[in-house]
């Protein structure tokens, strides 16, 4: 197969792929950070011994990655506990902490958390006091840009554990056209036993869709979409579809959530609520082509399409004049 379609098919229908281009499948899975997820999906299938050894190592590695992600969350919890504010886990760490199906084999890079915006300064000070450090030059343009326009603090990295933390106060940059309701995200969040919190199920989908389709060039998109598939399959009920529609409207992200549902259905055959997903659109094909733009050697393909989505990501992220100024500064420094 010429593109990552084999990977998408193996994830959604592991029994159906038969004897395939194993090297291509594994290279694509590694490139898309999906080897762990694939290894668990393929568990119990008849595969060649060498492939089974790779999957087995990936499953063991996933257990270690999970421990490490949860430990990092615990470290943040301890650092911020004295502040007495809600601390919400996001993305992969949230899936692991809540034992969601999406966590099975899911790799986790940075720790993503969300806190109320009015507490950002206190949170940053507490993290710096607990061993996290700034990655970007504190007096530079990037730092200033993050603080003024982004939905998160400039990234921090822990001095000894070498792990990054992204502290969000909402789910989209302030320059983007949709304005998600950050207060509502926090108010509806759900407490876990540890005292840590996660977003409500509907808001988790809204965030995943926002991250994938409203804030980026779809790099790593197959994994983000796989998250969405797993979450939707775990939560799907008529009530859930209604709640999801309402939250998508509230956060001004109806179009992106609908797109996420349709693409998840196209690539992973996810059962989706039709009223939320809406009618297929011609542009869905472009998104699908972009998500699958990788070949069996793990190489990025369709350079022009990738570049178009890169331009789109900047276009979505900020108004034209601001974009011009931003690119000018980036290009001339």
């Amino acid at each position: 197969m010429k593109n990552a379609k084999l990977l998408a098919r193996a994830l959604s229908d592991p029994a159906g792929i038969g004897d395939c281009d194993w090297a291509g499948l594994i290279s694509a899975a590694r490139a898309e950070q999906l080897l762990g997820s694939l290894a668990f999906r393929m568990e119990g299938q008849a595969v060649p011994a060498r492939v089974e050894a790779i999957f087995e190592a990936a499953r063991r590695d996933a257990a270690r990655a999970r421990t490490q992600a949860l430990w990092e969350a615990e470290m943040a919890r301890r650092a911020l506990a004295p502040l007495g504010i809600p601390l919400i886990l996001m993305k992969g760490t949230a899936f692991h902490a809540a034992n969601l199906d999406a966590a099975i084999g899911r790799s986790v890079g940075d720790l993503d958390i969300m806190v109320p915006r009015e507490n950002l300064d206190a949170v940053e000070s507490a993290l710096l006091a607990a061993g996290w450090e700034h990655v970007k030059d504190k007096a530079g343009y990037d730092d200033a840009y993050y603080r003024r326009w982004m939905h998160e603090l400039p990234p921090l990295i822990h001095r000894t554990r070498d792990r990054m933390i992204d502290v969000h106060h909402t789910i989209l940059p302030l320059t983007a056209r949709p304005r998600p309701d950050a207060r509502a995200l926090i108010d509806s969040s759900v407490a876990l036993e540890s005292g840590l919190r996660i977003l409500s199920p509907a808001d988790i989908i809204v965030h995943a869709a926002a991250h994938l389709f409203a804030d980026g060039d779809l790099a790593g998109g197959l994994r983000n979409l796989w998250d969405i598939d797993r979450l939707l399959r775990e939560w799907a009920t008529p009530d859930f579809w209604r709640a999801l529609g309402e939250r998508a409207r509230l956060h001004q992200l109806e179009g992106h959530v609908a797109r996420a549902l349709r693409l998840s259905h196209r690539l992973y055959a996810t059962p989706v609520g039709e009223t939320v997903a809406g009618r297929p659109r011609v542009t869905d094909r472009l998104f699908e082509a972009r998500l699958l733009a990788r070949n069996g050697w793990g190489q990025e393909k369709r350079k022009a399409l990738r570049f178009a989505f890169y331009l789109r990501s900047h276009w979505l992220r900020m108004p034209p004049l601001m974009l011009a100024r931003h690119l000018w500064i980036k290009a001339t420094r």
Binding site: S27, R30, R50, A53, A57, R60, D61, A63, W297, G298
Partner: protein, 288 residues
Amino acid sequence: MRHRLSIQIGPVAFRIGSAWKAPLDALAGLYADYPKPADGLTDFTVRLEPEKPWRRFIRPSVAIRGDYCLPDATPMSLAHGLLAAEMGMNLQMALGQKNYLLLHAATVEKDGRALIMTGESGAGKSTLAALLGERGWRLMGDEFALLDLDSGLLMPFPRAVSLKNGAIRVMEAEVDPARFGPRLEATPKGEIRHMRPNADALARMGEGARPALILFPRFGEDAAIRAVGAAEVFMRLTQASTNYVALGRRGFDALTGLIAANPALAIDYPDTDTALGQIGGFWRELAA
């Protein structure tokens, strides 16, 4: 990819793709006597590709990529494409190997028992391993020692030995010219020439060995031998391992098992003959 080649080295199979023919021709020559993966499958993929599309033709520059990449790796000149392929395979092992505890070490075997030599670059482990491999020992590998997590056996990884600078002359005096790759001048590591291990090392690349001694050689000092305590061995081997942390508890158990079962010595040596004499002495004592 336009040009492709698969190679089996010990228990690991690689698939190497390249945008240019020359690096793979050189690689195929150097690895001529190695088996192809028996199952037709591979563990890791290496890609040699232009850093930017036009760099395939204009001032060609080889980016080392693959299943696992270093984001800020410097591209290499096409003349050093063979070295790029070697580095690409090493990179996959260092970042992606999770089935064995990986030690940055040379290993040789005699009478069914293996000697592990580790140390910083320049300590002479490659040269010593290559020389021992020509003088009655079996060369298991000059770069990575693979410690099986369950059995505690060392598995061979007899890739082509990467000889640098002075070591090139030492081995040229000893070994059939047909076993050498091209001379690579002015690489980031100085002059480099690759040498194919001998037929015995290749024929037995599937055969593991029980470790017997851990050695920390250091070249350029007066001859000296000292015992190294378990705590120091542990610290030095965790630093010499690329995947110790990633293996978690299993890595800890394998490493402490290795250290508990084997003596460890540090040797200083002014010339290779001295080191070979020291090592021969250790082996006679171990056998006694």
